[in-house]
Assembly symmetry: D2
Homo-oligomer: 358 residues x 4
C-alpha cells in the first residue's frame, strides 16, 4: 500500500529504474508558501553520493512539481512531484532474478508478483523511493514549524556506539535546531567520531552495520491522538515501518521499560510555569495513545544494510538448488545517517495528519 495518511495523504510511486519516482500529497493547507530551498536542503540530507559513507550513485534528485502550487503558494489541490531516474544500469540486476539477495525483498517480490516484478535496483522496494517521501515530509515539516511544532532526529546508535540522548523531559528547541544543521546528526561529537569509525570499520570488512534513530517532536499540544487503535504510537509505527530496513519502533524508554520498575518508569506530574508537565518523560510524550504535551520521543531500529561485498549463500529459483552470489558494485555500509531525514519526514507527515484530523 503506497498511500499514507487520512486527511494529509501521501501516495508514493515509482521504481528504482523506472522512468521516474514521485509522490502525490493531498491535504496540505491552501495559502501556505513553502520555502523550496529548504525543501532541497532537506532532501539533500537523504541523497546518496555526498559523503564517504554513502553509496556512489550520483543523481540529481531535484523534484519537478507538476501541480498543487500556483506562483509558489499551495492552492489546495494535491501537490504532485516527479523525480527522474537518470541512472538506469538495468543489466547489473538481471541475474538476481534467479538468485535472490539474502535479506532483500527479491524473493518475497518474486513470490507475490511472479516473474514480471521489477528486479532492477530493488524495483519498488528500493530505498530510492524515500526521496519523494522526503519531499513530502519537507513540506509537512514546514507546515508543522509554522504551527510551532519542531521535529528532528539524532543517530542514537551505530553498531556498539551510542550517542547519549538528552533528558526526554528537557529536550530543547535549540538542541533540535543544532541537530538539523549537522551533517552527521549526533548530540556528542565524540560519539559521532566513534560512529563514523564503526561505519568505516564495517566497510573495511566488506560488511555493513545497523543502528538506532531517535526522533523528537517538540511543541505538540496535549490531547492529540485517539484511544486504542488510533493512538500516536499506532499511527507513527504504522508509518515508520514503511521505511526500508526498519526492524523496530518504540516510544520513550521503549524496550528498556521491560527491565524497569514502575517506580522508575512512572512520570510524576508537576506544575511548571502554570502548566501540567511530567518531571521525567519515560513515556516519550504519550499516555493512552494521546499526547501529554511533553516532548514526543520515538526510537527506530535500523538493520545493517543487506547488500554486503561478500559471497553469500542463496538459491537458484529456476533450478531449485543451493548456490552463492556476490553483489557487485560499491555498497553503502550503513544507511542509518541517510535514513535520519526519512524518519523525520515520516514522523512529520504522520503528526501533521493527526493535527489536521483533530
Amino acid at each position: 500500500m503506497n498511500t499514507l495518511g487520512n486527511k494529509l495523504r501521501v501516495t508514493i510511486f515509482g521504481q528504482s529504474h523506472a522512468a521516474a519516482i514521485g509522490c502525490v500529497v493531498e491535504g496540505l493547507p491552501a495559502g501556505f508558501r513553502p520555502d523550496m530551498d529548504r525543501v532541497a536542503s532537506f532532501m539533500a540530507r537523504r541523497a546518496p553520493g555526498r559523503t564517504a559513507w554513502s553509496t556512489p550513485r550520483q543523481e540529481s534528485d531535484a523534484p519537478e512539481i507538476l501541480s498543487g502550487l500556483v506562483d509558489g503558494i499551495l492552492c489546495g489541490a494535491p501537490v504532485s512531484a516527479v523525480i527522474r531516474n537518470s541512472d538506469q544500469r538495468s543489466k547489473d540486476y538481471e541475474g538476481l532474478r534467479r538468485t535472490p539477495r539474502p535479506s532483500h525483498a527479491d524473493y518475497t517480490a518474486w513470490v507475490k508478483y511472479g516473474e514480471h516484478y521489477d528486479i532492477r535496483g530493488g524495483g519498488q522496494f528500493s530505498g530510492r523511493l524515500t526521496a519523494p517521501l522526503c519531499f513530502a515530509g519537507a513540506l509537512a515539516l514546514q507546515v508543522l514549524e509554522a504551527r510551532g511544532v519542531a521535529v528532528a532526529a539524532h543517530i542514537g546508535q551505530i553498531g556498539g556506539v551510542f550517542d547519549p540522548p538528552p533528558d526526554f523531559a528537557r529536550v530543547e528547541q535549540k538542541e533540535l535546531t543544532a541537530l538539523l544543521e549537522r551533517p552527521f546528526p549526533v548530540f556528542s561529537e565524540e560519539a559521532g567520531v566513534a560512529m563514523r569509525q564503526e561505519i568505516e570499520r564495517s566497510r573495511m570488512e566488506a560488511d555493513s552495520v545497523g543502528g538506532v534513530i531517535r526522533c523528537f517532536a517538540l511543541g505538540l499540544p496535549a490531547g492529540i491522538g485517539e484511544p486504542m487503535f488510533g493512538g500516536v504510537e499506532n499511527r507513527l509505527a504504522a508509518a515508520l515501518f514503511g521505511i526500508p530496513a526498519i526492524r523496530g519502533v518504540s516510544f520513550g524508554d521503549g524496550f528498556a521499560a521491560a527491565a524497569m520498575r514502575g517506580s522508575q518508569h512512572n512520570d510524576p506530574f508537576v506544575m511548571e510555569g502554570g502548566a501540567v508537565h511530567t518531571r521525567t518523560n519515560h513515556a516519550g510524550g504519550v499516555l493512552g495513545g494521546i499526547t501529554t504535551g511533553m516532548p514526543l520521543v520515538v526510537n527506530v531500529a535500523v538493520k545493517p544494510t543487506a547488500s554486503i561485498a561478500r559471497e553469500q549463500d542463496t538459491v537458484d529459483l529456476k533450478t531449485g538448488t543451493d548456490t552463492t552470489l556476490v553483489i557487485h558494485g560499491r555498497h553503502d555500509p550503513c544507511i542509518v545517517p541517510r535514513a535520519v531525514p526519512v524518519v523525520e519526514a515520516v514522523t512529520a507527515l504522520t503528526l501533521l495528519d493527526m493535527l489536521l484530523e483533530e
Copy 2:
C-alpha cells in the same frame, strides 16, 4: 479509534465501569463452527484473579453472544458479544479526577474529553477492554488454525530475567502447542520460576515490573503483505500498540539488529525439502513487508504497571498545584502474563485480516 482491520473488522466498546464491554466482529467466514469451550479457555488466560500475581478483581467475563451465530455456526453476519460489568466500585475513583495517576491516561483523557470523561477504573482506557479483544481473537485463532496457521507467544523477559527463545528458523508447532498449555508461558521452566520471583519481589517492594512478550506465527504462506505502508510490520505494529502499556514493537532480532553486522543479520536462502527457506531467521519472517514463509516473530515491550502501592507526586487539576496521591486497592505488580493472550489475539486478528485480503 476503536475499530481494527479491513476485511476482518473488530470494534471494541465499553468502559471499565459502564454497564458492559463488548465487541463486534465482522468478516469471519460463514459456515465455520467455533469451539466455544476453547474460546472460554483462551479468555480465562487473560482474566484477573486467577493467580498469585494477578489483580484480585473477580469477574465472570463470560461473553453473551448477541448475533452472528445460528445454531453455533457463523452465519456471515457480524458476531457481537457483550460482557457485563458486575463490579462497579465507582466511588473509589472519583478523587482521581483532580489528581491524575502518573503514567495512566487520566490526564490525557481529561485534556481530550474534558471533565465528563469516564474516570472510573480507567474508563475506556482500562485493560479490561482487552477481554472482548480476546474473545474476537479466540475466534480468529480457530479460523487460522483451520487454515494451518498457529499463533502463540512466550514471556521473553520479566525485569532482568530472560526466557531464551528457540532458533527463529526452527520454531516448531509442538513448542507452540506446549506454550499454550502452560499457565505461565515460557520455554524454560527455570526462567519461569525466576520470573515469578521477580514479580513477587516487585510486589513486596510495593512496586511493579515490565517485560517482553514474543509472539510466533507458523504456517503463514509466503507472499502475504503489501510493500511500503501495507506490510506485515506496519499492520501488526498498528494493531499491537492498541494494547495498553505497550511501548515497543519489533520483528525478528528487533533492536538487537542495530548492533549487528550485515554478515551476521543476513539470512541466507537455502533449499529445504524442495522449498525455499532461510538458514537463519533474523528477519522474523518478513522481507519488504511480505512474509517469507518462515516463522513470523514479533516482540512487544510492556512497561511496568503504572498502578503501584506507593505515594506518588502528581498535580491537583482544580487548583493547579503540586500534590501527592496513593492509589488504594491491591495492584497487579506485572500485567505481562495476562497480556500474553492479548498479544496473541491481536496478532491473530491482524494476520487473519491480511490473509482474507489476499
Copy 3:
C-alpha cells in the same frame, strides 16, 4: 460492511431473529447531554405496528445503552446500545431457504454465505437493523441541532402521488420543524391523504408501492466537503444506499436536470443580507462536492416492498427447478413512511461526520 463514517463512526450489528440488534457509535462529542425522550420519539417514527399502513409486528425497540454515557452525558467513549429481539418466529422462515423470495436478499445471501446464512426474517438484511441506525442518527441530529443544523425529510412521492416540495432556495426552518411533528411527513395535507389512499389501494390489491423521500439540511456552513471522491454527494450516497430498498440517490433537481437547459438549471449568485446566496437552488446546496451554504437537498428512491401477498414465481435451490411461493403473514404495503426517519438518521450521521472532519 457494517461500519459507516470516519471520525463519527457507526457500527451496526444483529439479525432480525438473533438475540439482539444494536450499534456502536464512536466520535460523538464528549460533554454533550442527549435528550433521551427525543431519541425515543425519533425511534418511534420508524417502529412498525403503529399505524394502519405498517407491519403488525409489535416490539419494544427501546435500546439499552451499555456504554458511552456517564450520568446521562457523553463521556467520549463509544456509545453502544442493544435492542433485544422479542419476536423470534423462526419457523416461519425455514422453508424460504430453498425458495428465495423475489427481490429480497435471500438468494444473494445464499450465494455469498452458503447454506448457513441467517434466513430468519431476512437475517442481517432485515429492515429491523435500521432501528439501531435510527438510535445513532437521533444522537447525531441533536448534536447537529446544537450546531445550528436542522435535518428533516418529507415523503415526496408515493406511487403516482406527489407532495410538492418548497422552493429549494427558500426552505425554512419552521417548515422542517412542522414536518418532524407530522406522523405522515408531507408539506401538503391533501397530498398526504392521496398518498395514504394509494398505500391502502396497494394493500387491497395484495400489492405494495414505492416512493421518494426528499431530505433537507439547513444551516450547513459553506465549504464542507472535499473535491472528487470526498464530496457531499459521494459521502451521502455511499451512506444512503445502506438503507434497504433504496434504488436511487440524487441531489437538488436530480434526474430532472437531465431534461433541463443550463440557463434553467444554473443558480445565479446574489447578495442577500450581506451573504452570498443563490437565487435558485437547483444544485441542492452542493457545487464541486462542497456545500454552498444553501439548503442541502437529497432525494432517495424507495422501491415497492418486495414482500407481497401474492403467489410469485421462484426457484427451488435444492432441486434446481422452477416453483412458486407465497409469503405468509401480514405485509407492510409501503415502507416509505417508516423509511423517512432512517433517511434523516443516515443523512445526519454523514453530515455530522463531515463537519467533525473539517
Copy 4:
C-alpha cells in the same frame, strides 16, 4: 479526496492549467500486458475537440507512463502516468476569481481554499481531470475483460430525447461491443440523430443541455458486494459522484421504481440453462448490495453544462455586490457524450476493486 478504491486504488492529481495532470494506480495484477493502443482509443472517446459538439480545446492527452510497467507488462508496482498541459491560457480566468461562475465550483473553492485556490480553467475541479481517470479505467476495463466482465454505457437521454434501453434481463455482449464502437453510443440510431439535434439546438440558443448515461456490466459473478454500507450501490455511487456534473445515481429502474407496484418491480427467479436467473431485472443486478449474476445496470444523471454563452447574474466577492458576467470562449453545449467513457472508467475501476477484494 482524490483517491478511490481499496485494493485497486487510484489517485488523481493536477489542475487544468498546472504543468500536468496524472494518476497513480495501485493494485493492478502483476503479469498482465495491457494493450496500449486500446487504452489510447478509449481515452480518445473522452478527449475534447473531436466532434462538432465538443469544446474546441485541442490537446494531445497522450499519457507518459512513469512506472509500473516493465517491457509493457504490469510489474506489480503502482502504475503512474502524467499528461502534460500544453494549453495554459491563464489570463482568461483571472477575472473569475471575483465573480464566480454560476453552478461552477468557483465559489465553493474560494470558501474552502481562500484566495489562493487555482481558478485557472476550473483548477482541480476541471473536467480535464477525467483524462487520467479514463487512463486508469482503460486498464481496469482490460483486466475485467480478461476475467469475462464487459462494461459499456449508452446515452439514455439528452434533454427530452430518450434512447430506449434493451431489456435489463437480456442485455447481450454483442450489444455492448457495438456500443463501444459507436462514436455516439446509443442503441437506436434514430434516437442518436434526435439527440445530436437537441445538442445543436441548445448550442444555437447559447445554452447547454443535460442527459442520462446508463452503464451495463455483464459477466459479473453472483455474490460480489457486502451488505449495508459495502454494497455494489454504495461503492459505485460513491465513485460515480466523483465525476463532475453528476446529479444522481440509480440502479435498475431507479427513480421509476417509486411509481411502481411490488408485483411489477419484483423479479421472479427462474432456472435458465441450469443457472438461477431472474425473468426480469428491475433491480439492475443487485439485491441487498450483492450481485445477482444478472446484468448490472446503473443510471447516472448529468446536469446541463454550467458554462453557457449568455450573460448571467453573479456577485463580486471583493465588493460584496451583485453583478453580471459573460463566460467567453466556445462552450461545449453537452458534455454527456464525452462523459460516457468516464462513467465506464469509474464503473470498471470500482467493479474490479470489488472483485479483487473478494
